[in-house]
Symmetry: C2
Subunit: 225 residues, 2 copies
DNA sequence: CTACAATTCAAACGTTTGTTTGAATTCGTG
DNA sequence: CACGAATTCAAACAAACGTTTGAATTGTAG
């Protein structure tokens, strides 16, 4: 009848499902997004998800993996470059931080789909579901290991536990920042929805992270200063 | 048969539901927690939730409000005290930060239930549901307004937008830190589940937040240094 | 064109969801 | 005790969920 309804050009259905799922997961969360919402937005049959991905859980993983894997690969390459440029010497902490955080910030700033995915990813970190937790552990295993080692080499006098705490805090700040967190967005007046919000945020976040990383360690009895 | 099954001493049912719901919401999220799970853990009849709270959404709000309202009231009082001690002069930024963040950290460090609630609250910030978003906006309206004003008075040379960004980042770091974020917890080796994890984390987080707050502002073209 | 594999489709599957009902029970009070 | 209000209870409600089915359609090689 109309322009090729039948011919979805091989793999088109898969991609339309992934795109629709990413949008809806970002907007409503995993649990609150039904298969019918996904297939409805994608314009495909309800059974297509189970045919192409096997289950809803598998679809969730594929939606995340599709963008997260290239993202972490870029992080690895960025660290490779930094370490190569440093010769045998440790990489400067600020450069390590930049290598880790510039990729997601660029992704979020690059396109609507990128911002949408980073918002989804930020929320995914707080998902309690074991299936998602296990998935994230697997996907982040290598990259976190590499960066942890780089930090330890760059800051040999700082106990490893302190480094891990700081890394934990930095991840939280970035994660929340790109996730938008609409509620406090309204309160603080920070509009993360606007297209260029990420470009304006990125340098500010980077400065904040480095400031936190360089902060004095708390004393043994918990005093800060 | 056993010790007063029938006499739940007036209001006991309400509290048992709230406690059970808080535990399950923190463990599985709002959507993934069913009414039958809640009433099952609480040991009450399925219909009790709708009788005492009206709906599941209303229960969610009450679970959050029960602990969040006193928490934000303590924040207000802490700022009142700091401003009174400063006379008419602006309150030191580090003291403002401490006034805002020490209450939730103490709550998280004080008891298992406190840690459980703060974990739930941290996750709640990333909930996309409009009902939860609106609830949070209402609950945080006053306290965020007060602290925003205090920051602006303490840092008159810093543009208000920069202050809001920093506040946004600090909230994110704290939120993620207390929420646990099990996935990266495993990767970084930071165990947030242990009872004394919050006591050890609090001074470290506070130092990180102050370091981030004091970081140099990025240049007009986005350069940090 | 034929035949086989891949994909799409409408329909239905059994469960689980939040909520409601109306009777039974318990509580507070005169 | 006795009464009306408050609460509990087992049972059922319609709706939505993820998934499966088997036939119909489409794509691809021989």
């Amino acid at each position: 009848m109309d322009v090729r309804r039948s011919t979805l050009s091989a793999g088109e259905t898969r991609i339309r499902i992934l795109d629709a799922a990413q949008t809806l997961f970002a907007a409503h969360g995993f649990e609150a997004t039904s298969m019918r919402m996904i297939t409805g937005l994608a314009g495909v049959n309800l059974a297509a998800v189970n045919y192409h991905f096997g289950s809803k859980d598998a679809l969730v993983q594929e939606v995340l993996r599709r963008r997260l894997r290239p993202l972490n690969e870029r992080r690895i390459r960025a660290l490779d470059l930094a370490e190569a440029a440093a010769g045998g010497a440790p990489v400067k902490p600020s450069l390590i931080v930049e290598s880790f955080f510039s990729s997601p910030l660029e992704l979020a700033a690059g396109s609507d789909a990128g911002r949408e995915f980073m918002r989804l990813l930020g929320r995914t970190f707080t998902e309690p579901s074991p299936m998602i937790r296990d998935f994230l552990v697997t996907e982040y295993e290598v990259v976190v290991g590499r960066y942890r080692e780089a930090f330890c080499r760059a800051l040999p006098t700082v106990p490893v536990e302190e480094i891990l705490w700081r890394l934990h805090f930095m991840l939280g700040a970035m994660s929340h920042a790109v996730a938008g967190v609409d509620s406090l967005q309204v309160l603080t007046g920070v509009k993360v929805d606007e297209p260029d919000a990420m470009q304006r945020m990125a340098p500010r976040l980077m400065s904040f992270l480095l400031g936190g990383l360089r902060a004095p360690l708390p004393g043994p009895d918990g005093n800060i200063e």
